[in-house]
C-alpha cells in the first residue's frame, strides 16, 4: 500500500510540475460527484484534484492522460528491468510485458485520448478497457517463483483505467 501511494504521489507531482498551474476552482463538487460513480473513489479524487476542468469531458481527458503517463513510465521501468534481468528467469515475462505495453503506449492510448477530444467515446472506452486487460495480462506473466516486480504499477494502471472508463460512461450516458 505504502509504495503505491508513494509512487502515485510522485507521479502526480511529476504531472503537476509539468502542467500549467491553474487557479483553484469550485469544481470540487463535480469531481466528488463524478468520482462517486467510479469503482475507486479516493484514487479518482486524488487524481483529478486540483485539476482544471469544469466539465466531465476534460476530467475524462485528464484521467486518460494519467493512464498514458503511468503506462509510459511503467514501460520505461520494464525496459530497464529487462536489461538487468538478462539470463534470469525474469527476463522472459518482463520482455513479454514490454511487448504488451509498447503498442498501448505508442498507439492505442494516444488514439484514445484523441478520440475523447473528438467525441468518439465508444472507441476511447474500448481502448482504455483493453489497456487494463493488458496490465492484467502482464501481471499474469509472473507466477510461482517468479515474483512480479510490477504488481503495484500494473494494479495502479488497471485501477486508473477502471476510473477512466467509468467517467467516459458518464459522458456517454449522463450522470
Amino acid at each position: 500500500m505504502k509504495t503505491s501511494v508513494t509512487s502515485l504521489s510522485i507521479i502526480l507531482l511529476y504531472i503537476l510540475l509539468l502542467s500549467t498551474p491553474l487557479p483553484l476552482t469550485q469544481c470540487g463538487d463535480l469531481i466528488d460527484q463524478i468520482c462517486k460513480k467510479t469503482p475507486f473513489h479516493d484514487l479518482c479524487v486524488l487524481s483529478l484534484q486540483p485539476n482544471s476542468g469544469t466539465n466531465v469531458k476534460s476530467l475524462a481527458s485528464v484521467m486518460a492522460n494519467l493512464v498514458l503517463s503511468n503506462a509510459t513510465d511503467t514501460l520505461n521501468y520494464i525496459q530497464g528491468l529487462v536489461k538487468q534481468a538478462t539470463g534470469t528467469p525474469l527476463e522472459r515475462p518482463l520482455a513479454d510485458c514490454a511487448e504488451l505495453y509498447i503498442p498501448v503506449v505508442k498507439y492505442n492510448l494516444p488514439q484514445a485520448i484523441n478520440a475523447l477530444i473528438r467525441g468518439r467515446y465508444g472507441f476511447a472506452n474500448y481502448v482504455i478497457s483493453d489497456t487494463a486487460k493488458q496490465a492484467d495480462a502482464c501481471e499474469k506473466n509472473f507466477s510461482g517463483e517468479n515474483k512480479s516486480p510490477l504488481t503495484d504499477r500494473n494494479k495502479l494502471i488497471s485501477n486508473l483505467c477502471d476510473v477512466a472508463v467509468a467517467i467516459i460512461r458518464i459522458l456517454q450516458k449522463g450522470l
Binding site: 513479454d96 511487448e99 468518439r120 467515446y121 465508444g122 472507441f123 483493453d130 493488458q134 495480462a137 456517454q172
Partner: protein
C-alpha cells in the same frame, strides 16, 4: 504418397442417381415399369441437358467444371446434381452439396445448431465467409478482412468483411471494407493481400471478377491513414492495374500476394495460375508505384500435375531464429516458403526452398516434396491460408479458412458457414530442417480460466480413461505420451486410414474429444507409431471424424499424415477444442490437422474428454495439462450510440 484422406470419397457409396428398376429378361411382367422408367429417364435426361446448357453459357470451359467438383471423381451422368457454388463463377468449389436431398437430412435441433457456433474462433455473426484477406498490423490494431456474403450462408455476392483486434483473439466487427460496386469487381471482390510501404502507406491488391467474369487485379487503399481502424477504403480510379496476360486463361488468374522489395528498390508480387490446365504456376510482376505492373519473364516456379494454384503465398523464414521475417527479407540464414491452394484437390500445400531475387526464381530444397506434391500446411479441412508479417511482435502469422463439412441445407438452416483458425505463429523447424512449425499465437493464453493436470496416467491396451475436468467444449490441451512395450512388435503396414478402431501393436492412442459418456459420438485425435521393415518407427498423427456424429449427412473422414518424432522426443500433441472445430498440433506443430465436427449427443454438458489406448502391444503413459478456455465474445465495435433524449 501418404495416408491422406481416403482416395475414394464416401460419396461414391451414395451415387447420385437411383438405379433403374429394370430387368429386360422379364419384359412381359415388367412392361409398365419399363415404360415408366423410360419416361422418367428421358425427363431427367432433358432436365440435366438444360442444366448443362445453362452452366455452359456461364463458363467457357465446360469439361473443367465437373472435374473441379470435390463431390464427383467423374463427370455426372444423365441425372442433374447440385453443383458446388463458385465453380461456374471461376473459383474452387465452395460448398458441400447435399447428396441425399432434404428427406435424409438429419433432424437437427436448435440446440445442436447453436452449440456448433465457436466460442473463441473468428467467425462473422452470420452468413458465409471464406478466404482470409489482407491481414495486417497497423498503429496498434490487427486487421482481418475476409470473403463474405452479406446476404446468405452460401458463397456468393462476395464482399470484404472487416474486423480488428488488439490481440488477435478479441475481434470487433467493423463495416464492410469493400463491396462489388464497379465493373471490375461487380461479380465479386475476391481475395487479396496488403503491403505496408516504408513510408507508412498501405496498398491492397485484390482480384476482382469483372462484369464479364474476367479475373483482374485491382488496387485499393485506406481513405484515411489517420483512422487507426481503417474503416473506409478507396479503389484506385484507373482499376484494374493488371489484366490476365496473353496465354493465361481469363478465369485462372487470381489472389495477388503481399509485395516484397528487391535489392534494387522495385517491388515484386506473385499471382497463381495454371499452364496447359495441369501445370500449377506462379507469375511474377514488377512495380514501383503499384499502379503500373510489368510481367516478368518465366514464372517464380511451376509444378506439373498440380493444376491451378489459388491463394499463392510467398515469404521468408529465418533458419536460425525464432522471430518472423519481413516479407522483403532475404539473404544468408533465410529460406523461402512457397505455398499454393490447389484448386483440384482443395488442399493447401507448401515447400521450403531458396529464392533468387535476381532471376526471380524459387527452387525447392527437395524437388520430390515440391509445392503441391509434398507437405500440406494442414492435413484437415483447411484452405486458402495466408500469412502476414506482424511487425509489432516480429512474427509471421498464418490465417486459414475452415469450411463446414455439414451440408449446404444445414448451413442455410443455421444461418452461417465457416470459421477461421486461431492465428498461428510460423517458424522454421531447425530440428528437422524440412518443414515449418505452426503454433497458436500466445495471446490465446489470455482466454485461460482454470487448468487441470494429470501426471503419468497409465492406460492399458484397449482402454478408455475419462478425464475429470469441467466443461469439455472449449479447451486447450497439452498431452505427452510415452510407450511401455509389453510384447514383441513386428513390422506392420498401417496408417491413419482405418481410424481409431483399427488396432495395431503400437497404436492408436491419444484423446477422445467431444465424446459423450457412452462414446456413441467421439472424435479421436491420436498417434499410431508403426514399426517398419527397416526396423525404424514411423509415426502417424491422425484425426478420426468417422464417429464424430450420428448425423448421416455430414462429411466425416479420417485425416492424418506421418509426423517426424525425433530420438529424444515423447509423443506430444496440443489440441484446441472449440465446439464444432478442433485444431490438433503434432510434435510442437510439425503437422497440424483441423477438423469440423457436428455431434448430436456430445454437446453442452454431455461433451466429455477421454484418454484412450487402442493398441494391442503397449501400455501408454500420459501426462496432460488441460486448460478450460473462456469465450472471446467477438462483437461489433462499440461505436457510440446517439442517445435519444
Amino acid at each position: 504418397m501418404d495416408t491422406n484422406p481416403s482416395d475414394t470419397p464416401s460419396d461414391l457409396e451414395h451415387a447420385p442417381y437411383t438405379p433403374l428398376p429394370d430387368n429386360p429378361s422379364q419384359a412381359r411382367i415388367r412392361r409398365p415399369f419399363k415404360v415408366f422408367a423410360a419416361i422418367f429417364a428421358s425427363v431427367i435426361f432433358l432436365l440435366s441437358l438444360v442444366t448443362l446448357i445453362i452452366n455452359q453459357s456461364q463458363e467457357p470451359l465446360p469439361v473443367q467444371n465437373q472435374n473441379r467438383s470435390p463431390s464427383t471423381s467423374r463427370p455426372t451422368k444423365s441425372f442433374s446434381k447440385p453443383e458446388p457454388r463458385g465453380v461456374a463463377q471461376g473459383v474452387s468449389p465452395k460448398s458441400n452439396p447435399s447428396f441425399f436431398g432434404d428427406k435424409v437430412s438429419y433432424n437437427w435441433t436448435n440446440a445442436m445448431f447453436s452449440w456448433q457456433r465457436t466460442g473463441y474462433h473468428f467467425q462473422p455473426e452470420k452468413n458465409w465467409m471464406n478466404d482470409p484477406d489482407g491481414p495486417l498490423f497497423y498503429k496498434g490494431w490487427y486487421h482481418l478482412f475476409y470473403q463474405y456474403n452479406p446476404d446468405s450462408a452460401t458463397w456468393g455476392n462476395i464482399t470484404w468483411g472487416h474486423a480488428v483486434s488488439t490481440d488477435l483473439i478479441h475481434w470487433l466487427y467493423l463495416p464492410l471494407a469493400m463491396v462489388p460496386d464497379h465493373w471490375y469487381d461487380i461479380n465479386g471482390v475476391w481475395t487479396g493481400s496488403a503491403t505496408l510501404l516504408p513510408d507508412g502507406r498501405i496498398v491492397m491488391l485484390y482480384t476482382g471478377s469483372t462484369n464479364e467474369s474476367v479475373q483482374v487485379q485491382n488496387l485499393a487503399y485506406p481513405a484515411n491513414l489517420s483512422d487507426p481502424l481503417l474503416i473506409d477504403w478507396i479503389k484506385y480510379p484507373n482499376n484494374p492495374v493488371i489484366k490476365p496476360p496473353k496465354g493465361i486463361e481469363a478465369d485462372e488468374f487470381r489472389d495477388p500476394t503481399t509485395a516484397w522489395m528487391e535489392p534494387n528498390g522495385t517491388w515484386r508480387i506473385t499471382i497463381g495460375s495454371r499452364h496447359k490446365k495441369t501445370i500449377g504456376i506462379s507469375l511474377v510482376y514488377q512495380t514501383s508505384d503499384f499502379t503500373t505492373f510489368k510481367l516478368m519473364n518465366g514464372v517464380l516456379h511451376a509444378v506439373p500435375g498440380t493444376g491451378m494454384w489459388e491463394c499463392v503465398d510467398f515469404y521468408p523464414v529465418s533458419v536460425n531464429g525464432s522471430t518472423g521475417l519481413d516479407t522483403s527479407a532475404n539473404g544468408p540464414g533465410t529460406k523461402h516458403v512457397l505455398k499454393a491452394s490447389l484448386d483440384d484437390t482443395k488442399r493447401d500445400h507448401y515447400a521450403l526452398g531458396v529464392y533468387d531475387p535476381v532471376a526471380d526464381k524459387w527452387t525447392p530444397d527437395n524437388p520430390k516434396e515440391d509445392v503441391g506434391i509434398g507437405l500440406q500446411v494442414d492435413y484437415g479441412r483447411y484452405y486458402a491460408s495466408k500469412t502476414f508479417y506482424d511487425q509489432n511482435k516480429r512474427r509471421r502469422i498464418l490465417w486459414g479458412w475452415i469450411n463446414e463439412t455439414d451440408t449446404e441445407t444445414d448451413d442455410l438452416a443455421k444461418g452461417w458457414a465457416s470459421v477461421q483458425t486461431i492465428p498461428r505463429n510460423v517458424i522454421f523447424d531447425n530440428k528437422t530442417g524440412t518443414n515449418i512449425l505452426q503454433w497458436p499465437v500466445e495471446e490465446i493464453e489470455s482466454l485461460r480460466l482454470r487448468s487441470t493436470e494429470f501426471r503419468e496416467i497409465v492406460v492399458g491396451p484397449g482402454s478408455v480413461v475419462p478425464l475429470d475436468i469441467g466443461q469439455a467444449t472449449q479447451l486447450d490441451i497439452f498431452a505427452e505420451f510415452e510407450l511401455e512395450i509389453t510384447s514383441e512388435t513386428k513390422p506392420e503396414n498401417y496408417g491413419c486410414r482405418g481410424g481409431a478402431v483399427d488396432r495395431s501393436a503400437l497404436g492408436p492412442f491419444g484423446l477422445l474429444v467431444i465424446a459423450d459418456k457412452t462414446l456413441s459420438e467421439l472424435t479421436p485425435i491420436f498417434f499410431r507409431p508403426v514399426k517398419t521393415i527397416e526396423d525404424t518407427v514411423k509415426t502417424y498423427f491422425c484425426a478420426d471424424e468417422t464417429r464424430s456424429t450420428k448425423a448421416p449427412d455430414v462429411f466425416k473422414q479420417v485425416y492424418g499424415t506421418t509426423v517426424p518424432v525425433l530420438a529424444d522426443e515423447k509423443f506430444q500433441m496440443r489440441v484446441l477444442v472449440d465446439h464444432s472445430i478442433v485444431e490438433s498440433f503434432g510434435q510442437g506443430g510439425r503437422r497440424v490437422i483441423t477438423s469440423r465436427i457436428y455431434p448430436t449427443e456430445a454437446i453442452f454438458g454431455n461433451a466429455k474428454l477421454f484418454l484412450f489406448n487402442n493398441a494391442t502391444g503397449v501400455n501408454v503413459k500420459a501426462t496432460l495439462k488441460i486448460w478450460e478456455l473462456n469465450s472471446a465474445f467477438i462483437h461489433p465495435f462499440p461505436f457510440d450510440q446517439i442517445r435519444m433524449e
